[in-house]
């Protein structure tokens, strides 16, 4: 069967005097044979060693470190406030990020952050291709981790292929059980870490180990653990190839100057096995060892050119470079390169990496612009927010004196970290008066003073009356001013006042 050839073990070739291992295999997911209607073929990526593999280990350590440590960072916000640096408090409707505290009304900050994230991704993609996919996407990180665990228990590529083909024995069962147990532990730790972002981490940790946490915590832990296990352990490359939209979208951000992991066919072809002391004249540097194929976690052959399946993890670069070293040829037969460089080499020009291009300039400009707007709004964020809602039923009330009265519900949000007193004043029409039952005290001129606890919202009912003779229209504008007592914060809003048709 075809798949047998593809997943053949990779023996050291007999007739090759070089110490290069040669794999007589075809890529599992070879470009010419790709079919949408086909059962999945297993991929057993071989371990790669080299510069990029090291970078990827560090990236894994770094990103997983951020993920696991962040909820445990403390940040003092004063008495009675959560001291978790990053906390999404859904019940309390607050988002805490170090010194920033966001109310649900200010969700546009999160939107801005997401736009920035999106544009940054565009910029990186247009500059150096699928950096995100290859180095920092959670799918890549966790799949890498899961493959590392698999390799630890079941051995490298050949051993795994043998184990997969062997019939069930105690040895096979032991290895498989161990592997899946560790996978499940990793999955649980992943799902477990996620819930800490939504609740005080030490408290929740205590509740979790004493089995006292809320059902929601267990539900989310269960969901995320299941997804981690299924996506990272089992589905792996299928997620990138079939589920993720990003491989399809990113093509439009790339141009001929964009860096991507590429096989330099102009140097490698014609390919073929090479014997020691044989001349390199009239042939390419590719010795057909297929090490790039066996290390590929996506099961493709990079020599087929740019492919949607390629997540540009650079492991084939490492594999190829180590072979080039052994046979004494220059490194970089597979390397980060741009399409334009192929043309340049053909014309006898030097390789160039043009980072400044209209595309990158536009993405950078948008990024800086959005960032500047976000920073400006964040620095000028008001610590008071007032919502005014006019009564609609009844639209207005006529009083015994003939005055017209409107009712307003106003909500004062105190975003500061201390209790504040606010004075409420109305203006805009001669003889306008304000009455409320909810005032804590009154100023000298009779304006109500309302105290709002820190980080809280208080709602109060205002009755505003205007003498009939001052009302020139059935709808006039009035101004409601809420001013912090002994401070600068104030919120002035114009709202409508309705009266009878004249």
């Amino acid at each position: 069967m075809a798949s047998d050839i593809k997943n053949a073990e990779t023996p050291v070739s007999e007739n090759d005097e070089q110490v290069v291992k040669r794999a007589d295999v075809e890529a599992v997911n070879k470009a010419e044979e790709r079919s949408l209607y086909a059962p999945r073929k297993k991929i057993f990526p071989q371990r790669a060693k080299g510069k990029f593999r090291t970078i990827k280990w560090f990236m894994m350590l770094f990103t997983l470190g951020i993920y696991y440590i962040t909820p445990w960072i403390r940040w003092d916000r004063g008495e009675g406030m959560p001291d978790q640096a990053v906390l999404i408090d859904i019940a309390g409707r607050r988002f805490y990020f170090f010194f920033i505290e966001i109310w649900p009304q200010e969700v546009y900050y999160v939107t801005g952050l997401m736009i920035m994230g999106g544009i940054a991704l565009f910029l990186v993609t247009s500059t150096a291709g699928r950096m995100w996919c290859g180095y920092s996407c959670p799918q890549t990180i966790w799949t890498d981790l899961f493959i590392a665990v698999e390799r630890f228990f079941e051995g490298d590529r050949n051993a795994r292929i043998r184990l997969d083909k062997s019939s069930w024995s105690l040895d096979k069962i032991t290895k498989r059980v161990l592997k899946h147990t560790v996978w499940i532990i990793i999955a649980l730790l992943t799902g477990g870490a996620w819930v800490f972002y939504f609740s005080d981490a030490p408290t929740l940790f205590n509740q979790l180990i004493h089995n006292q946490a809320s059902f929601d915590a267990y539900l989310w832990m269960g969901l995320l653990s299941t997804f981690t296990y299924v996506l990272g352990g089992i589905a792996r490359e299928q997620v990138c190839t079939y589920m993720c939209p990003w491989p399809r979208i990113q093509a439009v951000m790339m141009d001929e100057e964009t860096l991507a992991v590429m096989y330099r066919y102009d140097r490698g072809e014609p390919r073929g096995p090479h014997k020691k002391n044989e001349s390199w004249d009239g042939r390419g540097d590719c010795v057909q060892c297929r090490q790039c194929v066996v290390v590929c976690p996506m099961g493709i052959d990079i020599r087929d050119g740019l492919q949607l399946e390629c997540i540009q993890c650079s492991l084939c670069i490492d594999a190829c470079n180590s072979v080039m070293e052994k046979i004494g040829r220059p490194q970089g037969l597979i390397a980060y390169d741009s399409l334009k460089n192929f043309e340049r080499r053909e014309k006898g020009e030097e390789n160039r990496f043009r980072i400044v291009r209209p595309r990158t300039i536009i993405y950078s400009t948008i990024l800086v612009l959005v960032g500047a707007i976000m920073l400006y709004t964040l620095l000028n964020r008001s610590m008071i927010d007032v919502n005014i809602l006019r009564d609609r039923n009844p639209l207005f009330v006529q009083l015994a004196s003939g005055d017209i009265r409107n009712g307003y519900t106003i909500k004062i949000m105190n975003k500061t970290t201390a209790e504040q007193k606010y004075i409420v004043e109305v203006s805009g029409i001669n003889g306008i008066t304000l009455r409320t039952e909810d005032a804590d005290e009154f100023a000298a001129d009779g304006s109500p003073i309302i105290s709002v606890p820190r980080d809280k919202l208080r709602s109060l009912k205002l009755y505003v009356a205007i003498p009939r003779k001052e009302l020139n229209d059935d709808s006039v504008d009035i101004t409601i001013k809420v001013k912090q007592l002994g401070g600068d914060e104030e919120d002035v809003q114009t709202t409508t006042f309705k009266g009878p048709r004249t």
Binding site: P394, Q398, L399, G402, G407, K461, R468
Partner: protein, 288 residues
């Protein structure tokens, strides 16, 4: 797996089932394994489920299942629970006096929410959803009250009603001056002119109108026409009228009288609900 039975299709590389029709062989493309396993699990689940929860209909009854639990029972339990929790607060409202409730922030909030709901259910058909009233049905938002706008007054009005069947009902009786032949048509016109002049300085009343008002109306509406709450007699000098304000309608009211009715709610509504309603209406902006 015996390779003897297997026949691989050359084109697709997939096994055939061995079935052949007119030279066309059927490929063996089984359902995906995950689908099959999920299906098996659901079958097992369904089999177990029938013993755990209500499932089979019987002649007069149904099989209750091991847990004997239904969503309806659960809902009833939850409703009982809510009633249990509320009863503590409702007992407090029942036993405390209105002013004390109003000063207790938590209780007041609870009462206002309950009052608003009860108002929508019981009062809105006549007084409107926003309590703005209609012609003949008073606006409860304004600061003009026929029978008083304190919490106690409102509570009494709701409890016993106006011209209701309750023996303690609020009641008054304005004579139908023309129909009962107490005044003549022209005398009524004079009185109405006088009443209009009370709130409109452009109208000049006749001396006879003033005397007729003092003799016939002042007893209830007061010498100055400002009304008397003990009798539920409206203030005739302010901007608010229960009925229309044009001259013809006023003449009609003096001639034939008006007798609006508000039902008694004591006995129909729970004490706590009536108190909540009083607090709610008091909070609408006109409470005294």
């Amino acid at each position: 797996m015996s390779d003897l039975k297997k026949e691989i299709d050359d084109v697709s590389g997939v096994d055939t089932t061995g079935h052949e029709w007119d030279g066309i062989k059927e490929l063996n493309t089984p359902m995906p394994r995950w689908w099959v396993y999920t299906f098996i699990v659901t079958c097992i689940w369904a089999f177990i489920y029938q013993f755990l929860y209500p499932s089979w209909p019987l002649i007069t009854d149904y099989y209750e299942g091991y847990f004997a639990e239904t969503n309806r029972d659960r809902l009833n339990d939850e409703l009982d629970n809510v009633a249990q929790q509320r009863s503590v607060t409702l007992d407090k409202i029942r036993s405390m006096d209105l002013e004390t409730i109003r000063n207790d922030n938590a209780l007041n909030t609870f009462a206002l929410a309950g009052g608003k709901a009860a108002f929508g259910d019981n009062c809105a058909p006549c007084h409107g959803t926003g309590a703005a009233g209609f012609t003949g049905y008073p606006n409860l938002n304004d600061d003009d009250w026929l029978w008083g706008g304190t919490l106690e007054d409102i509570y009494t009005t709701i409890s016993f009603g106006i011209r209701s069947t309750h023996e303690e009902t609020r009641v008054n009786d304005m004579p139908a001056f023309l129909r009962d032949e107490l005044l003549t048509k022209s005398e009524i016109e004079d009185v109405v002119t006088y009443v209009q002049s009370l709130s409109d300085s452009t109208i000049t009343a006749t001396e006879s109108g003033r005397i007729l008002f003092a003799d016939n109306c002042a007893l209830c509406h007061g010498e100055d026409g400002k009304g008397l709450r003990e009798f539920g007699a409206p203030n005739l000098t302010d901007a608010i009228t229960l009925y229309v304000t044009d001259r013809d309608s006023m003449i009609d009211i003096v001639s034939n009288s008006r007798k609006g009715v508000m039902p008694t709610w004591s006995g129909r509504l729970d004490e706590a609900t009536i108190k909540s309603l009083a607090l709610y209406i008091h909070s609408l902006g006109g409470g005294e």
